[in-house]
């Protein structure tokens, strides 16, 4: 049961949907700021706190989780491997890591970036591997 009786369930569903929209906008903003910071360190962080934006993202996520539980909205576990966004995200991570290693020689840069991505993939496998 919803713990806020004065607001209708429909309103909470609208808020729930809006929170997802806000989350998407915040994530896109965060990614854009990361790109800008990568290209020109300090261009954004000198004026706007990235930490505050990260806190806002976690706050929205927290509210989504809480409302989802209250509204008893459940999802099937997303199949990350089949997600169309995955190649885009991998490319984004590749460029971001590669950009931060510009001072290295090209082959060193590529090697470190690929090894880093491989490590991330292995971590993902370890964390999300279904329990036997």
């Amino acid at each position: 049961m919803l713990r806020l009786p004065h607001i209708s369930k429909d309103t909470f569903i609208v808020i729930y949907k809006l929170l997802h929209d806000a989350l998407l906008l915040l994530l896109v903003s965060f990614a854009a700021m990361l790109v800008a910071e990568g290209a020109l360190p300090g261009i954004v962080s000198q004026h706007i706190s990235l930490a505050r934006l990260a806190v806002a993202i976690f706050a929205v996520l927290g509210m989504i989780i809480w409302l989802g539980k209250e509204l008893q909205i459940t999802y099937e576990k997303p199949a990350i491997k089949k997600n169309k966004l995955l190649p885009v995200l991998i490319l984004f991570a590749f460029l971001l890591i590669g950009n931060s290693l510009l001072k290295f020689a090209l082959w060193e840069n590529m090697l470190i970036t690929l090894v880093t991505l491989l490590l991330f993939f292995l971590f993902y496998q370890i964390i999300f591997e279904p329990e036997k």
Partner: protein, 446 residues
């Protein structure tokens, strides 16, 4: 539009409300984007000082002082026609500055008080001191046939050329100067004894250079350190047996004051036995330093210096820094809170091994001003805005703000906001700076 919750279906009425709320959310997001763009493209910086918490780290303005006592924190109470001077070091270029004084409620009206701003380097705003003379250890000859050594700041004349030969000074090391050039050093006692070396004589023993002082030999940490100030010719070559006559000091001499040294990825300013690690690239560039002037130090060289806390952009250049006025080509040496001019070309020649920081005396004396007005709806806050456009590309990272108060007052706080108004010209200027920075980051430098 991208919908993360497409599986949650709403009724027509609710869908309408959701669509409306979504538009509002996107408008709010757009406002946020405009806010960030405004901050990035039209930056502003607010720097403050509170007399109530004068030692607080939250004070971002330089400590206010008076023209009479430049090194003492000014009292918050200022007499009529009294002045307050402080420095502001905002990072970036700004088009105007608003200076706000919070006065005690019982203070008299200070409307009309003049606020004057100038731009240069903080150390270059130091008062002009006495002209500097030749460096210690310099060997000089005048056309009338007199020979001198600069010892402990004073000119000491060799009473005869015989003494010079007996002591072993190389004749070619004597710099010929006019008698006029000598007037910037005090006169010391004549050198009459051929068995005693005057202080600040240099020796080369083996691979090491030494400075003679108080009957001791002070070794230079490396030949590079010696060459950062002197020529090899200036040193008298001696053998190891010389050590039996004089004790070698434990104190080791380093590079010329004001030298920039690097170790790993850190760059240090070396001055008077201390090394100041420069906080970041922005600080290095804002102080007018040149990457080509940085000497890569080895562990022994850096080890002779006592490491200090980080050198940030709001600190003045340390003692020993050499400034070159770009218009008159005159040099100034920073020493004990004063900039001491080098008045003679011959003296400047002895400082030629040091790399100067480019400054501009005329620019440092150019000012913009405004008059304080009472802030609307406030009884004791006064502010005025000065346009900084005329400073254009002035050299320096420091704004010197000088206020003369029309009446007796007690200041509680100072707030200085540097801003960039929303104009096409400023937008173009910001975008051009971004383009230039991108080029610096991604296009290999020649």
């Amino acid at each position: 539009m991208f919908d993360l919750t497409s599986k949650i279906k709403l009724g027509p009425a609710l869908q309408k409300k959701y669509a409306l709320a979504r538009i509002l959310l996107h408008l709010a997001f757009l406002a946020g984007v405009i806010f960030v763009a405004d901050r990035v493209l039209f930056p502003s910086a607010t720097l403050v000082f509170s007399f109530g918490n004068a030692n607080s780290l939250k004070n971002t303005l330089g400590a206010p002082h008076t023209s009479e006592q430049p090194n003492v924190l000014a009292k918050s109470s200022v007499a009529a026609n009294g002045n307050l001077i402080f420095d502001a070091n905002p990072v970036g270029n700004f088009s105007d500055a608003t200076i706000t004084f919070g006065a005690d409620k019982t203070s008299q009206n200070i409307e009309g008080s003049a606020v004057r701003l100038r731009k240069s380097y903080q150390a270059f705003f130091y008062p002009t001191g006495a002209p500097i003379g030749f460096r210690d250890g310099t060997l000089l000859a005048t056309p009338d046939g007199s020979y001198y050594i600069v010892s402990d700041g004073a000119l000491r004349r060799f009473s005869s050329t015989d003494i010079i030969l007996k002591l072993g000074y190389p004749k070619s090391a004597f710099l010929t100067v006019s008698s006029d050039d000598l007037r910037y050093n005090s006169i010391g006692a004549d050198i009459t004894d051929a068995s005693v070396y005057p202080d600040d004589t240099f020796f080369a023993i083996g691979d090491t250079y030494y400075e003679f002082k108080g009957s001791q030999l002070f070794p230079f940490v490396s030949t590079r350190a010696f060459f950062s100030q002197f020529d090899a010719l200036q040193a008298i070559i001696k053998g190891d047996d010389f050590f039996s006559q004089y004790k070698v000091s434990d104190s080791i001499l380093g590079f010329a004051d004001g030298t920039l040294g690097s170790s790993d990825i850190s760059v240090f300013i070396l001055s008077q036995g201390k090394s100041y690690p420069i906080a970041d690239v922005a600080t290095f560039l804002s102080m007018g330093f040149n990457w080509n002037d940085v000497v890569a130090l080895d562990a022994d060289e850096l080890g002779t210096y006592q490491r200090q806390k980080q050198f940030t952009y709001d600190q003045p250049h340390p003692d020993g820094t050499l400034f070159l006025d770009q218009k008159t080509q005159k040099y100034f040496v920073i020493e004990n809170g004063a900039k001491r001019p080098i008045k003679s070309a011959a003296i400047a020649q002895t400082y030629s091994k040091q790399k100067p920081v480019l400054a501009d005396l005329e620019q440092s004396e150019t000012s913009v001003s405004c008059q304080l007005k009472k802030v609307l709806l406030s009884s004791s806050t006064y502010a005025c805005t000065a346009a900084l456009d005329s400073f254009g590309q002035f050299i320096g990272n420091d704004y010197r703000i000088d206020t003369t108060f029309s009446n007796e007052t007690k200041i509680s706080s100072i707030d200085t906001t540097f801003s960039t108004p929303l104009t096409w010209e400023n937008l173009r200027s910001s975008l051009s700076k971004i383009k230039e920075n991108l080029k610096n980051n991604y296009v290999p430098q020649q």
